[in-house]
Symmetry: C2
Subunit: 172 residues, 2 copies
Amino acid sequence: MDYSPELGIPILERTPAVLRALLLGLPEEWIRAADGPKSWCAFDVVGHLIHGEKTDWIPRVRHILQKGESEPFQPFDREAMFAASQGRATAALLDEFAVLRAANVVALRGLALKPADLARRGTHPELGTVTLGQHLATWTAHDLGHIRQISQTLGRQYRDAVGPWRAYLSMM
Amino acid sequence: MDYSPELGIPILERTPAVLRALLLGLPEEWIRAADGPKSWCAFDVVGHLIHGEKTDWIPRVRHILQKGESEPFQPFDREAMFAASQGRATAALLDEFAVLRAANVVALRGLALKPADLARRGTHPELGTVTLGQHLATWTAHDLGHIRQISQTLGRQYRDAVGPWRAYLSMM
């Protein structure tokens, strides 16, 4: 599927409600469950998504539109949430993510990007030349990847509890 | 994590809202997108979940409680939705799933299962001896596995569109 704002934005604008539906009021045993020592729990993922709204997605869109390839993006700190989320409540993180995302979707719609804009180029600090369309497709797929990650992390908590059914559950 | 109704039910009762938040009103290109010829699209998955509510989860709970191991469960038709969903609207499937799930959660709560009940045994037609606790853990993990599957199927539509970012997105 090619990237288009018409199809990409409906995913972006749904993610806060998906995370609320899954996580709000869910017992803390699930929210804090990880899948091994390096795995993120659902609480970590929501914080990571917040940091992306603040420092990555729309800021890099503006960077490409204003500076092109002349200057690489600021590196994104994918683990910033370990400090930033500390002591916060899950509900507060879900609310903050929803507010930031709503504003960022308004900003994206406001740019009224045309197909020619999607071909504009920027410089990623590790990946080199990227296009605005690739960046926007990544924002969208990144959401879905983290919904997938949370579902998998929660589901795998029952890896042993499902007994012989484990053979049928590819996620395990 | 051991299975307990106290932790398992909050997942079961959230799934209809998660699927609605993700899929209701989403463009049909997403709803019908599959990830290869044998992959299910989101529309297929919702139909499959409906069939599970009707023929698998609570019916097998009652089977274990009433018949124990004496008689194997009826086999579950995991592809029944290909006929049953034909011509239906996604919104109608989401509604039907929500109604069935709500009733089944009421039924599950109404059984007020105790730890000793979770050890009761049934006979799976392929897997042999299983316990009621394993069956209920599977119901829960099965939901999460299908949320994961839908997220992954949608996200992978952008496998090429993300360009070099593909290297960072493990789901791809």
